[in-house]
Assembly symmetry: C2
Homo-oligomer: 157 residues x 2
């Protein structure tokens, strides 16, 4: 395997998990900054051309950091689901995945919309978001069912 190392840190308005919009229909429109370490700045070359980025980051403050649950009850439902069919932070490898919209780049700072990370979260990787599954081909499992039951609409990218 490998030893994860941060390539930067997220500057976000969220100081604790209770502040992050969550559950059915939550919109992730908060703005934040991906502060990349100067040693990695060259790796950002050309990133301005992309409208959306994939950010892989570390759930470094999920309670009991080393632990995980195989069954979790997410905020969007009142029933338990397997952790791999949720975005729960209590995963065997605590890696978060967020798609953000790139607003502008200033040197090592990527100003983005759509952060749902806590302030200071370590960033592992940034990748270009290349293309999407057509909506008519996408099935969204228990989440779609929970939305129908509660009359909500999903907003997470």
């Amino acid at each position: 395997m490998f030893t994860p190392k941060p390539i930067g840190f997220v500057a976000s308005p969220f100081q604790d998990t209770a502040a992050v919009p969550n559950g059915l229909g939550a919109k992730h429109e908060a703005e934040g900054v991906l502060k990349i370490l100067p040693a990695f700045e060259l790796g950002l070359t050309g990133i301005e051309g992309y409208s959306h980025l994939i950010v892989l980051w570390v759930f470094d403050r999920s309670r009991d950091f080393d632990g995980f649950d195989l069954m979790v009850t997410p905020p969007s439902d009142d029933q338990p689901h397997g952790v791999f069919s949720t975005r729960s932070p209590r995963r065997p490898n605590p890696i978060g995945f967020t798609v953000v919209e790139l607003l502008r780049r200033e040197g090592c700072s990527l100003h983005v919309r759509g952060v749902d990370m806590l302030d200071g979260s370590p960033i592992l990787d940034i990748k270009p978001y290349l293309s999407s599954i057509p909506a008519e081909k996408l099935r969204r499992g228990w989440l779609a069912e929970a939305e129908v039951r509660k009359g909500a609409q999903g907003g997470r990218l």
Copy 2:
């Protein structure tokens, strides 16, 4: 940070990187199996309801495993780009990202379409693919430009 551990391994038709479809317009339609370790099977509960899954995995055989390049020349272009604006395996954290279509589940085995991993690649995480950026809002940077130059169409999810 944390210590990455495999939750399973990919069974894929690709034994070496030269066999993986690559470059502009490459289609990722190969079928494979995500073989999840029995200890994590409970975490798959409910995953059958999703049509597409995000797979995070390890580039465990990228040449000179511990190294990375900040500038890379990907197979889809003849010009160098920053590693974070490419999907190059030579990244500071060698984590791969692939979206696959879930064909069926048999216990710990997820039969999927769209693998681009080498056979035996360690799997770090599986997450549900929840929603997509509308095509009209997506800009695809140097890759779109390279496609225009070469008259190709992108196929990667």
